[in-house]
């Protein structure tokens, strides 16, 4: 079989891009709030549905879809945090209780979407031109995705490195107590990251939805690779997440070729993400930090 490596590389960039913008919010809020928010999958789904509603049902076009999905999903995320997770944390809920609560929140959002739009898969009405450059084929949607990812990645990079808010986020995620002691309003930082993180998840949802289908499981369908990005990149580590996203994109795309050649179902590419999660969590040297966590 002839393997088009250039195409595989491009596809990896594309897959990785969706995972990256889908994972950043999860990674940062995991670090800052000390639990992994499983409802993040539903932020992706919600974004996909809002995008579908604005662009295909209302027919307002894609740009308003992105903006409205970003703002609405961000707001929902803030409400979840202020209304459920923060009160729970204040009452001394354990990490496990917070994780269970996030799964419950995910249920509420997922089945509310199911009640509103139904469980039949929906499709974006947009059609995309396909461009051919040498051996590479790329659709307009993918070009847009790469553009959006590059812009948001660069914006995030400079925001984190140069702005006051970015420095506050970095300080809070490396040592919350110290950050609070040095006058940073950690609570405000957490709220902002919950908002932006969910907004980005919504954008990822639109791209995922536009390229496959929109249904209440859109976000859950890619939760494994998104967790793999968070874990492999290091929880709360932005630059790590970028590298991890593309490694996972690459693994999946090479994996699909390998699985096809082996005669296995391509759905097993999800198993690769699973293996990456397990291997990272076990091999990553945690050393003494693990042993003296509660000391």
């Amino acid at each position: 079989m002839d393997i088009n490596w250039a195409q595989i590389l491009l596809n990896s960039v594309i897959t990785g891009s969706i995972y990256l913008i889908g994972a950043i919010g999860l990674s940062v809020t995991y670090r800052l709030s000390n639990f992994s928010n499983f409802a993040h999958a539903e932020f992706i789904t919600l974004g996909a549905f809002i995008g579908y509603w604005v662009s295909s049902q209302l027919g307002w076009g894609l740009l308003p879809a992105f903006i409205i999905a970003f703002l609405l999903t961000g707001t929902v995320s803030l409400l979840c945090y202020r209304g459920i997770f923060q009160p729970l944390a204040k009452r001394g809920a354990s990490t496990i209780h917070l994780m269970i609560a996030s799964i419950a929140v995910g249920f509420i959002i997922r089945y509310s979407i199911g009640a509103g739009w139904g469980w039949t898969p929906q499709y974006f009405l947009n059609t995309w031109t396909t461009y051919e450059v040498g051996a590479i084929r790329i659709t307009g949607l993918w070009l847009l995705l790469i553009l959006v990812t590059l812009t948001s990645a660069l914006t995030m990079h400079f925001a984190l490195m140069r702005t006051k808010l970015g420095k506050a986020i970095r300080a809070s995620s490396s040592n919350p107590e110290l950050a609070a002691a040095s006058g940073i309003n950690v609570n405000r930082v957490i709220l902002i990251t919950w908002f932006i993180g969910a907004g980005l998840a919504a954008i990822a949802g639109i791209f995922r939805g536009a390229s496959t289908q929109v249904w209440p499981m859109t976000g859950w369908d890619i939760i494994l690779p998104i967790f793999a990005v968070v874990v492999l990149g290091g929880i709360g580590n932005y630059h790590g997440a970028i590298v991890a996203a593309f490694i996972i994109g690459l693994t999946e795309n090479i994996g699909v070729v390998a699985l096809t050649n082996l005669g296995l179902a391509t759905e097993y590419r999800m198993a690769l993400a699973f293996l990456i999660i397990i291997i990272t969590l076990i091999v990553k040297p945690q050393g003494l930090a693990m042993f003296f966590r509660r000391a």
Binding site: L88, A104, Y111, A115, I277, I278, L281
Partner: protein, 314 residues
């Protein structure tokens, strides 16, 4: 549907999920292991039972096999995973469940893939009425549940139970007091998985048909809410939670049958389920029944002596 079979069906499910809740209570309530992949071991048990039943094996062999394969599955996962932080363990077990479901969905030769697999009747009852068939299932399920209950009661009210509670509270301190925490955790994980496997086998035996869509993560979280609602580290609490959550489930189903609602009732059921979990975590995080203190005969008599001594002094 007449009311009697409906009630009996409810009782069977309380039993099956009672076993699941007991086993999660052993893992999480007593030992602090956050197993977010309970459904994986339920699935292993159910498929083992279904496949073996087709060879004509008697039901008790099928059930034993379900327990064994699930225990082995539990051991395989526990070897790498039990050294992890609690939230990492949760992620790993959750993803394990998803992967197993992916495998039975993709591999038609295991259990018919997405088309599912029928379970041969392991208990032959030709000519029996549906009601008496359910009654036999109730007997079987409750015998299994009683055995699991007794095993966990004995374990948790013994020096062994003291060690696993110590591991839950502070595993480094427990290891510094000479307890091999990896060994204890692996044993608990294997035993808990074996029990979940039995529940899965009973589930397959009762329904006579299983497919991958019965093993969604929702199963895991149903069991979690049973334990959290009933009261972690209390075995009666686990059973109470199982009964209450099943009742809640049936209640919302009845609403579906008798009322017309503006929104689809199946969705509403899950939404209410999510709300219930959050309400429990917010307002009753310790559950309905409080943790049961360790009781051994020696402790009981020491306590009796202590109180008489105090009375004499006072």
């Amino acid at each position: 549907m007449s009311i009697i079979p409906y009630l009996l069906d409810f009782v069977v499910f309380v039993g099956i999920f009672g076993i699941m809740a007991l086993s999660l209570n052993l893992e999480y309530g007593f030992t602090g292991l956050a197993n977010f992949g309970k459904v994986a071991f339920f699935l292993i048990g159910a498929y083992t039972y279904a496949i073996l039943s087709q060879t004509g094996a008697p039901f008790y062999l099928c059930l034993i096999a379900s327990a064994l394969t699930s225990a082995i599955g539990g051991l395989l996962i526990s070897l790498p995973a039990l050294r992890l932080r609690e939230d990492y363990l949760a992620i790993v077990t959750l993803t394990t469940g998803e992967i197993l479901r992916l495998i039975v969905k993709s591999e038609d030769w295991i259990g018919g893939g997405i088309w599912g697999i029928t379970v041969s009747p392991a208990i032959k009852m030709t000519g029996a009425s549906p009601t008496s068939k359910i009654l036999v299932n109730i007997g079987l399920v409750f015998i299994c549940m009683a055995i699991c209950f007794i095993i966990i009661q004995l374990l948790t009210h013994s020096p062994y139970g003291r060690v696993i509670r110590a591991i839950r509270e502070d595993e480094v301190a427990a290891e510094a007091l000479g307890k091999n925490r990896s060994k204890y955790k692996a044993q608990i994980f294997m035993l808990g998985s074996a029990m979940a496997g039995i529940a899965g086998g009973l589930f397959a035996q009762y329904l006579r048909f299983i497919d991958p869509y019965m093993f969604l993560p929702i199963v895991t979280f149903t069991v979690w809410i049973m334990v959290l609602l009933g009261g972690p580290a209390n075995n009666w609490g686990a059973l109470l939670g199982a009964a209450l959550v099943q009742l809640f489930d049936r209640g919302t189903n009845l609403i579906k049958d008798y009322f017309t609602l503006p929104i689809d009732p199946t969705n509403l059921q899950y939404i209410l389920f999510g709300v219930l979990i959050i309400l429990v975590l917010l307002y009753r995080p310790q559950g309905l029944l409080k943790e049961s203190e360790i009781k051994t005969e020696a402790l009981r008599s020491a306590r009796a002596r202590g109180s008489t001594a105090k009375n004499r002094e006072g």
